[in-house]
Symmetry: C2
Subunit: 159 residues, 2 copies
């Protein structure tokens, strides 16, 4: 392993930040593309889990309504979720999460809650916090989640 020649000058306040090294920059975008591959899956399983918990069952029509998409779109997505082993169902019947689906739903729900509570603790209004959390949650690393939780706890502790 040879050290990459570092042509990044040390940070200065008077000029615009230099571009990061190409490989690091590429990794940033790759991480985003990566998040985009799983984010819809996460939202679906999280929603299915929430529907089961709050209304006793998860039906396609409810999902379509809450996601704001057509039932056909939900039907196709459910097919994908089944083929990925996250969801189980019989034709024309309501949906269930597999063990794997439950696990993903649990993680997603928790991460979502941390981000939402953090935004509220930051002083963002509830409506805005909900909207922003829905998108941000998929792009937040564990390290950032930890920092958010620290802040939220501090903030509520000081009340």
């Amino acid at each position: 392993m040879i050290e990459t020649p570092d042509d990044t000058p040390s940070p200065s306040l008077s000029e615009a930040d230099a571009l990061p090294p190409s490989e690091q920059h590429a990794q940033q975008y790759a991480a985003v593309r990566n998040a985009h591959e799983t984010e819809l899956l996460e939202d679906y399983v999280e929603l299915i889990g929430d529907l089961i918990a709050h209304q006793g069952e998860a039906r396609s029509a409810d999902i379509a309504l809450r996601m704001g998409v057509s039932q056909a779109t939900v039907s196709k997505m459910v097919g994908r979720l089944k083929s990925l082993g996250l969801v189980a169902s019989k034709p024309y019947r309501s949906l269930f999460l597999t063990e794997e689906g439950e696990a993903m739903a649990r993680m997603s729900r928790q991460r979502h809650a941390i981000v939402l509570q953090f935004l509220r603790a930051l002083g963002v209004s509830d409506d805005t916090a909900r909207i922003d959390a829905e998108g941000m949650e998929h792009h937040v690393s564990q390290e950032t989640l930890d920092a958010m939780q620290r802040f939220t706890r501090l903030q509520s502790g000081e009340g």
Copy 2:
């Protein structure tokens, strides 16, 4: 205007949060889908602007390298940016931003910087902050940006 019947119980700590009303829930997801439509465009114009500022010109090969994507993908995307009036170029030559492209780049760059500085102020390491900011930036409302700036200023002021 009639007030929507509010079946959301007042928040309780002992039970899981209730689901938001369907229309509000749908709006959350719609906002995310919306952000996804412009997010790549924003990253491209921001990068093109940065390349012009830092290296004098923006070439497809550089973009491909920094985005971690094939040159063919860049070529196609540049076609889209041109058809949207954000970028101008002659075949086989380097890229320029239109007025509209400049405006989008300016906004994106500023928003990106606010999110990045905020994450650092929160205590997130530089590498992680860069990665998370690249994704989060597209899902952050003006209200949240304001809250982030307030926090960052406070934090640096107290140093």
